[in-house]
Every structure is written in structure tokens, then in C-alpha cells.
Amino acid sequence: MSSSNPSRSFVIRPCTQVYLALMGLTATTYLIGTAAAPEQGPGLGLSLLVLGFALLKSHLIGDYFMGLRGLHGPWRWVILLWLLIPGGLILTAFVLSA
Amino acid sequence: MKYRSQAVARPYFIAAIGLFLAQIVFGVILGIQYVVGDFLFPEIPFNVARMVHTNTLIVWILMGFMGAAYYLIPEETERELYSPLLAHVMFWVFLAAAALTVAGYLIVPYARLAELTGNDILPTMGREFLEQPTITKVGIVIVALAFLFNIGMTVLKGRKTAVSLVMLIGLLGLALLFLFSFYNPTNLVLDKYYWWWVVHLWVEGVWELILGSMLAFVLIKTTGVDREVVEKWLYVIIAMALITGLVGTGHHYFWIGAPEYWQWWGSIFSALEPLPFFMMTVFAFNMVNQRRRNHPNRAAVLWALGTSVLAFIGAGVWGFLHTLAPVNFYTHGSQITAAHGHMAFFGAYVLINITMISYAMPLLNGREANSMRSQVLEMWSFWLMSVSMVFITLFLTGAGILQVFLQRFTDTPLPFMVVQEKIALFYWLRLISGLVFLGGLVVYITSFFVAARDARQGIAPVAKDAELAPVNP
């Protein structure tokens, strides 16, 4: 998960970097959601971008927070593989309904 | 047998197998009546035979559960049963109630039975699976309370293990949920809710806890795997079973007049109901593969593995087959349901009881395992019953698919009875499978007598060299 070295004050821990990335991506998602007129929405392209953000964020959670990063073998990919299922189905449904 | 009071399990197991035989005989009668409509009419009409078939099933499974609890709880809690006498008395009360009820079904017309037993005072009769006269239901409650008191006191005073606690919670739930059967509202929608809260929450809720704990117990004993490992699996399995099973009740609310959102809730959660059963399969095979010993009772291990596989197929896969609302819209109450019902009850609850009986009976008779000859017979009966049940399921599924298509799906639907004639071939094939199943059961019962004779002649269970050889140390 986080660096096990005793961190010096000016070094940002990897987990903190991931945390900031998650916060940033979430804020971006919010901005995309609120920027467009309420009756129109962000549209398919931006919606899929937002979905991509969500999958990326979940992958980061799995890798850094849940500690899958650095594993060998099937457990390394378990969250990523799971993400493909809802991700793929949501993608399909949104593309088909656009 | 480590504790003397475990011996009270013996009559329960014997009665369970006796009622099992009765259930299957009536099953065969029903199988004939499906294709020869007036067989045994007017002595045993179809509805009566069906009632006996399903009610004896429920009673013998409950008998088996109780016997299992009486066997397993002293060993888990490491103390004698609180009151062996109470357990003995309750056995006879329960057996008498069951016998009188079945006799009532067979001797007098159902309406007359209702009259005789005072159904007017507290009407509870007339609902599928809950046909028992009100006084029988009261009897069941008394037996269940005495049983729970006995088991509960033993657990309270003894060592608390995950296996015994899960079993106790399951049995407690079983007894409490049965109380819903006393409420019989005139509003049909309400009535269906309460009815399912007994029927569904039993078989897809609390019974799964009992099943899980019995399977865990037998696996701990026969494989020698660390209790800690087994308990962890047990917790995960029952947590999943409860989450999916409780909300999964929604799959019975699709068409009874409940709000529409149940079609989503019921579909989504019950789609996951196969998961705990799948975990059970993985669990059982894992434990057997990691075994620290080769238990001389090979038959019990076979039954245990069979339980985990066939419960997954019957309850899991065949349940999933028709659990999604858009599918169930067509398949509801068809032979697909019958196929699922047969395989699920057999795979989960019949086999777990036989697993327990197969493991415990030799010990109750003072030997670790039966002679190899007896065990070979048991294994034969396992394959005969399991394979014939697979065929019963497949034939009923075939019948169900045709039925759903001809009667409901096609643009020119045919009347019910016309369709029944068209699918009669499947019913004949099912009947043949049913006869093989009965044969398998007879082989199973024979194995007990062979075991007793071999024991008298002093024949050892297995060759000495295979005994307790460490595997994967």
C-alpha cells in the first residue's frame, strides 16, 4: 500500500498521490456532470469518458488501497477483471441507447 | 460416538429413512397417475398422494435435522445433551403426529379431516405444503420448542463453536418462521406473503444454515482439516446464503399482486443465489483435497461431495434457470418448477441428511465405519439415486420447455390438458427414472443390514494399509 520507508516531510507518499488523483478525477466527473444544461446532459462521449474515469479510479483503489499491486498470480487481476464486467455492460447499454 | 446421549439421534435417523421410503413410494404412485390418470382412484386421489409425497418429505427432513442436531451438538459442545429423555419423548410425539396426519390424509377426505381437527377454530389448512391440520401444526411447534430448549441449553452450557451456533440459529429460524403458518389472512396477496415466509425462508434461508453446519461438521470429522479453516468458509457461505436468500424471496412476489419493483429485486438477488451453493462445492472439494487423514467411512465423504455438487446444480443452476422475472413470466408453475423442486430438495436436503446419517450411524452402532461391502452398496445407492434424479430433472425440464412453449409462448396456445397429452412421453421416462430411484433407495436401506451382518462377523471396514494414511502432510 503506502511506502514503508520512513517518509521525509517533503516526499508525498504514493498513497497520497493516488488519493489526490482520485479526488481530482471525481471533481472532474462532477464538473462534466454540471457543466452541461440539465436537460441535455454531457452527451455520450463525455459520459463514456466519465465511465472510463470511474473504472480507472476503481482500478487505482484495487491496486493501491486494497493492496493488489505487486502480487503475482490471479489475485493481482481480480478487481480489474471484475471491472470489465459492469464496465463492458454499461458501455454496451449506453452506446446502444444513444 | 463420544457422548452417550448422542444415541437419541438413532431413532430419528431410522424414522427419517422410513418416511423417506414412504415419500418415494408415493412419488412413484404420482408418477403413474401422471400418465394413468385413474390409477388407484378413488382410494388415493392425485391431490392426496401429492400431499403425502410433499408432507412426508418435509417431516423426514425435519426428523433428519433433529437427529443431526442431537448427534452433532453434544460433540461440538463437548458435553452430554441437556435432556436425552425429553429428546426421546419428543421423538415419539413427532412420529405419532406425523403418522396420524398421513393416516388422516389417506383415510378421510381432506374437508372432513379439516372438520374433525377443528380447523374452524383456527383455520390454517388448505395451503400447499402447509396442509397439516392445525393440531398437527401445534404439535410441531411443541416438538420444535422442546427440541430447541434441549439443544439451546446444551449449547449454552458447553463449548461454543461456529458449527453449533450456525446450526442453532438455523433451527431457531426454522421454528420461528413456522409460526407464520398459523396466520391465514383472507386477503390472497397477504396470504401469499405469509405463506412464502414459511416456505421460501425455510428452504432458501434458514435451512441453508442447517445444511451448511451439517456439511461443515462432517467435513471436519472426515477430513481432519483445521476447524478454523472450515469455520471461515462456513461464515462466508451462510452470509451469502442469507443476503441472497432473504432478498431473493422477491422472486416469489413477481405475480402475486406485490409492487412491480420486486421483479427487479427478486431477479437480481435470486440470480446470485447459486453463489453460496457454488462456494459450498468449492469448499467441500477443497477440504477433501486438503485432507489430513483418510477416513475409513468413504461412503460418507462421497455423500458429502455429492451434496455440494447436486445442491449447486439443483438449487443453484436449476433455480437460476427460471428465476429472472421475464423468464418466470412464462415458466411460472410449469414442469420447470417441478424439475427444480426435485433436484433442489434431493441435492441439498435429502443428500445432506443421508450424509449425516451415513457418517453417524456406524458410530452410533459402535464402529467408526461400516464394512467395505456395505459401503460399496451405499455408493451404488448414491449413484443410482443421483443419476436417476438427474434424469428425472432432465425429463421434467424437457416436459417443462415443451409445456411452456405449447401452452404459453406460441402464438396459438393449446389448452392445458391437450399439452399434457403431448408431453406424456417425458412423464413415462420420468416414471422409469423414478423406479430406478426407488431401487437405489432399497439398495441404501439394504446396506444397513449388510453392515450389521458384517459387523457381527467381525469384518473390518477397510484394508489396514489405507487406514489413516497421511495425505499431503
Binding site: 503506502s2 507518499r13 459520459s47 488501497f65 486494497m66 471484475w82 459492469p86 | 451469502m240 441472497t244
Partner: protein, 193 residues
């Protein structure tokens, strides 16, 4: 299981393997729920888009940030425990619980608003999904907090150390799962259209 974890630390994820099996099962439920939402939406895009606009995106953003921060707190709690800073570890866990509480409060206010407006499960398919999905997740937040509280209590009592803190890892990964699910739920239900 436990024995294998100890000897193959680079093959098995942190925490008890049983929790991972449980998490996978939970994730399966959510995956089906998400897919059901997306495909149900296909049937009536206009309805979904119309009622989606009635949701409070500000509250959802606040909740997302709360859960991410809560997850981060748990990561820091574990990092602190690995360096044997027990007091700091407990403080991070309490902070995580605070984030969970914030989530519950904000979400409850959202529910109160919708319920006051007469929204029910039977109102329409969109609200059915909105209420069902978020409430199912809501229950998971509560469950995660119960687990975290137990872990925090045990940590406070000195039950974990730098050498042995599997229980804390176990509680932690469950909490992250609750976060992970919300990170998909938020864009799917509140933003994507």
C-alpha cells in the same frame, strides 16, 4: 487458507482470504445491479434522463469525496500500524468513521428530500433503481463502519501490531470495496446520460 497466506505473501491479497471471497460475491451483486440499471435505461432513456436531473449532484460529489477520503484514512491507519504507531492508527480509523458518518448524513438528507417530494420505489423505474442501488450501498456503508469500529476498538485495546494486523487489513479491504462501488455508482446514476 490462513497457512497459505503466511507463506505466499506475494500471491495472496492482504487480509483474510475469506473476506476477498465475500467481496467478490458482493461485487457480483453490484455488477448485476449496475448492468440492470444500464439496460433498463435503454428501455426508456427519456424517463431516466428526466428524473436523473432531479438528483442532487452536489450531495453526490460531497459523498464521493467523503468515501475516498475515508478510504485514504484507512490506508494511513494501516501504514501507521505497520510502523507501530498505534495511537496514530486509531486516529486515522476514527477519521475514516467520521467520513462514513458524513456520507450517511448527506445521503439521509437526500433521501429525506426525495421522500418528502413523494418519491417511492413504485414511482417509476428510474427512482426504483436510484433508491434500490443507493440504499443497498447505504447498507454496505453501515456494515463497513461496523467493521471499522470493531477494528478501531481492537486497535485501541492493543490487539494489532506492526507484525500482526491481518484483522485490520481485512476490515480495510471491505471498506475500500464500499468506496470502489460508489465510485462507479456516482457517475452511472448521477452523471452519465
Amino acid at each position: 487458507m490462513t497457512a497459505t497466506i503466511a507463506t505466499h505473501q506475494d500471491r495472496y491479497p492482504p487480509g483474510d482470504l475469506a473476506i476477498w471471497i465475500f467481496i467478490l460475491a458482493e461485487l457480483a451483486v453490484f455488477a448485476i445491479f449496475f448492468a440492470a440499471y444500464a439496460f433498463a435505461r435503454m428501455g426508456d432513456v427519456a424517463l431516466f434522463d428526466h428524473y436523473q436531473a432531479t438528483l442532487d449532484k452536489d450531495a453526490a460529489l460531497l459523498n464521493s469525496l467523503a468515501l475516498i477520503t475515508g478510504s485514504y484514512c484507512v490506508v494511513r491507519a494501516l501504514a501507521a500500524m505497520r510502523e507501530d504507531h498505534r495511537a496514530a492508527s486509531v486516529r486515522w480509523l476514527i477519521a475514516a468513521l467520521g467520513m462514513g458518518t458524513l456520507f450517511l448524513v448527506v445521503k439521509s438528507l437526500e433521501y429525506a428530500h426525495h421522500l418528502a417530494a413523494g418519491v417511492r420505489l413504485s414511482t417509476n423505474t428510474f427512482y426504483m433503481f436510484y433508491l434500490s442501488l443507493t440504499f443497498f450501498h447505504f447498507m454496505h456503508v453501515i456494515m463497513g463502519m461496523v467493521i471499522l469500529a470493531a477494528v478501531a476498538w481492537k486497535a485501541h485495546r492493543g490487539g494489532y501490531s506492526a507484525r500482526e494486523h491481518t484483522g485490520m487489513e481485512t476490515g480495510g479491504v471491505y471498506w475500500h470495496m464500499v468506496d470502489l462501488v460508489w465510485l462507479i455508482l456516482f457517475p452511472l446514476v448521477y452523471v452519465m446520460r
